[in-house]
């Protein structure tokens, strides 16, 4: 028994009780060390495979994700599925390496360092930041490993290929164009718009707001029929977007349009508008998640942009394989106009599951 003031009796066999307590501590320490070693052996054995030079029968494809949100997770699953299909069709084994920078530039630089030492055949880098992630590409070039400027449009041309499928500026513009169409169809209407932006550190995703604002300003000026009266970050969060919308309803009673950089925030706005019973407020977002599509069907959500994640995954994987095999590919490969579709009440029927 342990305790500060308890004086243990001498054990019957004559041994000092203190020795028993020390032995307990030593046993506990040994147990902890053994548990640690056991836990380490249970780590998934990407490393258990002996590294062998990739020949024709094996390709090692590495991905450095900037973050793993809903759409990126779906894309990753799609890529892995295409990998399995490729193995089955061609007999070439595909080994994937994947890291997630979770929105941190520093982590992405460290992630890419970790990928480089494992000597993959290609590294697909989805940049956290257009400029901050550039050293990751330089590290790949220095190590002699082909790299792809994948999806996020980092400001560098040293990658083997620049693959654009999600042009954030273009997505923002699509939403602005839809509002322009609304105003054309309703000549007497005007829009007081609140824009819910993503997170101030995501310079690539901030382009959604830039594309939206630039187009509206170009078409209507700053005091025209469509004007942005409020703008705030909600860090991709539904809860934060709800708080922002509640504040706006108090501060701007004439607000009649809320545009969000993604549907999760748009849904937060929708929840608040529905709870307040306010009619005639247009809510728009990006990603085309199920709840947004349902909202369009119900009439409480105005429009969203659906990204064909499966198509992106297919193009992405095919490109990764081509670069990994050393095939000749175009330096700039842009499919952004092919995979984004604006969905509203006119075409929602084809997008409901």
């Amino acid at each position: 028994m342990k305790g500060r003031h308890y004086v243990p009796p001498r054990a019957r066999d004559g041994r000092d009780e203190n020795i028993h307590i020390e032995e307990d501590h030593v046993k506990k320490l040994k147990g902890i060390v053994l548990c640690a070693l056991l836990a380490a052996t249970l780590v998934p054995c990407g490393a258990a495979d002996k590294k062998s030079p990739a020949g024709k029968d094996r390709l090692v494809i590495a991905y450095s994700f900037h973050a793993l949100d809903v759409s990126m997770s779906a894309m990753w699953k799609g890529i892995q599925a295409f990998g399995k299909k490729y193995e089955a069709d061609t007999g070439v084994k595909i080994k994937f390496l994947m890291t997630n920078a979770d929105g941190s530039t520093e982590k992405q630089l460290s992630d890419v360092d970790s990928l480089i030492v494992q000597k993959p055949d290609v590294i697909m880098i989805r940049a956290v930041d257009c400029d901050g992630s550039v050293p990751a590409f330089k590290a790949c070039v220095k190590a002699g490993i082909p790299c792809v400027n994948d999806l996020m449009g980092a400001n560098t041309d040293i990658a083997t290929v620049k693959f654009m499928a999600v042009n954030n500026n273009y997505l923002g513009r699509m939403l602005a164009i839809r509002l322009e169409k609304y105003l054309d169809e309703n000549p007497g209407a005007s829009l007081n718009i609140g824009f819910i932006d993503c997170d101030p550190a995501s310079s690539t995703a901030l382009q959604r707001g830039v594309g939206f604002t630039d187009y509206l300003t170009q078409k209507f000026g700053t005091k025209g029929r469509a004007k942005i009266i409020a703008r705030k970050y909600a860090n991709w969060s539904t809860t934060e977007a709800m708080a922002v919308t509640e504040d706006w309803l108090q501060r701007y009673p004439d607000i009649n349009c809320i545009v969000a950089a993604n549907d999760e925030m748009g849904l937060g706005a929708m929840n608040v508008i529905n709870a307040a019973g306010k009619k005639g407020v247009l809510i728009l977002g990006i990603d085309g998640i199920d709840a947004a599509r349902q909202g369009i069907k119900d009439g409480s959500y105005f429009a969203t942009i659906v990204l064909d994640v499966a198509q992106i995954a297919k193009y992405d994987f095919d490109l990764a394989v081509s670069v990994a095999k050393g095939e000749s590919v175009e330096k700039n490969y842009d499919i952004s106009s092919k995979i984004a579709t604006l969905v509203d009440s006119s075409n929602i029927a084809g997008y409901l599951k």
């Binding site: 780590v43 530039t105 310079s203």
Partner: protein
């Protein structure tokens, strides 16, 4: 800088360098997990990656040893990095001026933290938590939420260059560690700071100026922040608005693992360095073992807890053994 008397022997060596031995065990485990771990390139990556957090950890060691805490370091790194980048981009501006500007901002902000703690007698936890938000907002205001890019090549060289075969950040870290060891352990100021952490009232009665010592502690933290921010900005070739985010948590973990208790009174600079390396090895091991990134967060937390539990249990064992030896010596003397 430890409170106990040196008694010598292998057990005492183990107790005084727990973080090192825990790190050694983890390195052994990591090398079993992946054959890539023990390659020169990977080990150099690990050391280079922990440089900014190790430098922050050195300043943090003194802050914690003095009985305070600083949760604003993450946000302050971003602010200082932005200032350094903006100053360096001015035409004809020597790089050293930009670095001095960074140091000035870092020290000034940390002195503001210390002033709030001293003048209003507020807990450092609350003050620095609030100032974290202030520094973050200031960064966003100055930058307009866009990173500062196209910084001079000489600046980038600090974060990405080499001195021979050793990355420059590693050389900087070694220098800061040596200086930190001397300042914290061998100067009157350092001893006063640790004494305040041990027992502030007793230190005051002994003539230690609590307020000025705290200013000095936080000023030193400001210098460490400036150096870390410079390295991070150079490494990313840009000043990111979210640079350093979450670094205060890694710093706390490294300091505690390294043997500096959160209650203060003891400072172990070498332990902090090994604590930073430990966290770096954990991150690296999980990456090269291709552990799912969501599981990585859980695994990292659990491994840190395991390291701290090992540390606490071994400290208790060491105390028991020391007590037993003392009792034995006492009986022998009789």
């Amino acid at each position: 800088m430890r409170g106990r008397k040196k008694t010598g022997g292998p057990m005492d060596l183990l107790m005084r360098n727990k973080a090192f031995f825990i790190l050694a065990v983890l390195v052994a485990v990591a090398s079993c997990v992946s054959p890539v771990f023990l390659t020169g390139a990977n080990l150099m990556n690990v050391v280079r990656q922990v440089c900014p957090s190790a430098i922050i950890g050195i300043g943090f060691t003194l802050v914690v040893a003095s009985g305070c805490i600083d949760l604003s370091v993450g946000s302050l790194i971003a602010l200082v990095g932005v200032v350094a980048a903006l100053v360096s981009k001015q035409e004809g501006m020597p790089l050293v001026v930009a670095m001095l500007a960074a140091a000035a901002v870092g020290v000034a902000c940390e002195l503001a933290n210390a002033a709030l703690v001293n003048v209003f007698n507020l807990p450092s936890f609350i003050v620095t938590l609030a100032m974290m938000s202030v520094f973050k907002g200031a960064t966003y205001l100055i930058t307009g939420n866009a990173p500062i890019t196209r910084i001079p090549e000489s600046f980038v060289e600090i974060g990405q260059g080499y001195a021979g075969v050793v990355p420059i950040p590693v050389c900087v870290m070694a220098g800061v560690a040596a200086l930190g060891y001397v300042v914290i352990g061998k100067t009157v100021f350092g001893r006063h700071a640790v004494a305040i952490g041990g027992n502030a009232e007793a230190a005051k009665v002994c003539g230690v100026d609590l307020a000025n010592t705290r200013y000095g502690v936080y000023a030193m933290m400001g210098v460490c922040v400036a150096i870390a921010a410079t390295l991070l900005t150079g490494r990313a070739a840009s000043a990111q608005v979210a640079a350093g985010s979450g670094m205060e948590m890694d710093a706390v973990a490294a300091v505690v693992i390294g043997g500096t208790p959160l209650s203060g009174g003891i400072a172990n600079v070498a332990g902090t360095i090994f604590g930073c390396l430990l966290i770096g090895v954990i991150n690296n091991m999980l990456n090269i073992a291709n552990v799912n990134s969501n599981w990585q967060l859980i695994a990292k937390g659990l491994l840190i807890i395991l390291a701290i539990v090992l540390d606490v249990q071994s400290t208790k064992l060491g105390a028991r053994i020391a007590k037993k030896e003392k009792a034995t010596e006492g009986k022998a003397a009789i």
